[in-house]
Subunit: 179 residues, 2 copies
DNA sequence: TTAAACTTTCAGAAAATACTGAAACCTCAG
DNA sequence: CTGAGGTTTCAGTATTTTCTGAAAGTTTAA
């Protein structure tokens, strides 16, 4: 591994925990992303100086994020791993999985809590707040899933448009009104 | 604390680490959000059964996320804490801070790495990948900051529009062409 | 100035998390 | 079958993170 590649891989490790997994898993993913060829478990464990068992657990974790792909070479029983999908898909998946882990459980707790009538003033206030949070999270997750259903191409146009969308929406409103 | 409130606070604790801080900090923030009145450090430590020192550290952490506000009561030297801003602002801030912690360092590493010429084929491939990632992250962060500059109201319209934006953009394109 | 009432800090203890490596497990060619 | 070549599991260990509580620091009323 050259210095430049190593610095990238180590950085992925340091960021790993912030992105939702741990250091080693981050390194593993970084390594797979910048390696042209798929890597075997042993190659990964040697490149990163970690145990074979750890690689196995890491791969499992990455699979739960739908971020790696298993491949086989002819005449070779080993499994070879490579990143699943394009950089773009990778981003979408991380987003999606994080939503599942970070937002969905909260939404369901809030839904449950909002079913009961508040028993006193304290709970009354709490419910108002929970309701606000619930509404916000619903709006955001709904929007996110709509965005995800758009083609990468459309999404790109939209993002490049930036705050300009606002103007486009204004135009739409005017058109609707004048009809 | 009633059961319902406690379940919310404990949930915030469990989610805490997924949202970027730790259990106690999560609980503290949950508690502050659903409490009508600002709370003193001692009240927090009693409500959550944690040490006074831990509260101090937690508040510091929440302040670094710009999520709490300090208040004072007349004739009282204690500090009282309450959530800073509306639920909406809270979401914006968490987003913003996470971007700073999770994306910005990566962008700067990638920028640095992309300045050097690749020394061999391996690095050549690595750079292509890093370039892709860099471009994607740039587009997304740029877009995110544009969105943040929009008024909550406009943003709400936009989000409610959902995948419908795509149609609106198509209409705009047609209008431009016909001119 | 002083001291009471508070907040912050931080070394060490406790708890949580991640890693290793050996054993168990799978799979398939012979 | 069987054993070679591979993967997974998991108990125990190492590392990292978090929490405590006592000491140090700060502020202000008198």
């Amino acid at each position: 591994m050259t210095d430049k590649i190593e610095s990238f891989v180590m950085h992925c490790g340091e960021m790993g925990s912030r992105w939702g997994f741990n250091r080693t898993v981050g390194q593993m993913y970084g390594l797979l992303v910048i390696s042209k060829e798929p890597l075997s478990a042993v190659q990964i464990s040697e490149a990163l100086n970690i145990s074979r068992g750890n690689v196995s657990m890491g791969i499992k974790e990455l699979q739960s994020w739908r971020l790696v792909q298993v491949q086989h070479k002819p005449k070779d029983r080993k499994e070879y791993y490579s990143p699943a999908g394009s950089i773009w898909e990778m981003a979408i998946r991380v987003f999606e999985e994080r939503r599942k882990r970070e937002v969905d459980p909260t939404l369901s707790l809030l839904r449950d809590n909002l079913l009961n009538e508040p028993a006193n003033e304290e709970e009354q206030y709490a419910q108002v707040k929970m309701h606000e949070i619930h509404e916000l999270l619903e709006t955001i997750t709904h929007w996110a899933s709509e965005l995800q259903s758009m083609s990468p191409d459309k999404l790109n146009t939209l993002m490049k448009l930036g705050a300009g969308v606002s103007k486009v929406i204004d135009i739409k409103d005017k058109l609707l009104k004048s009809n």
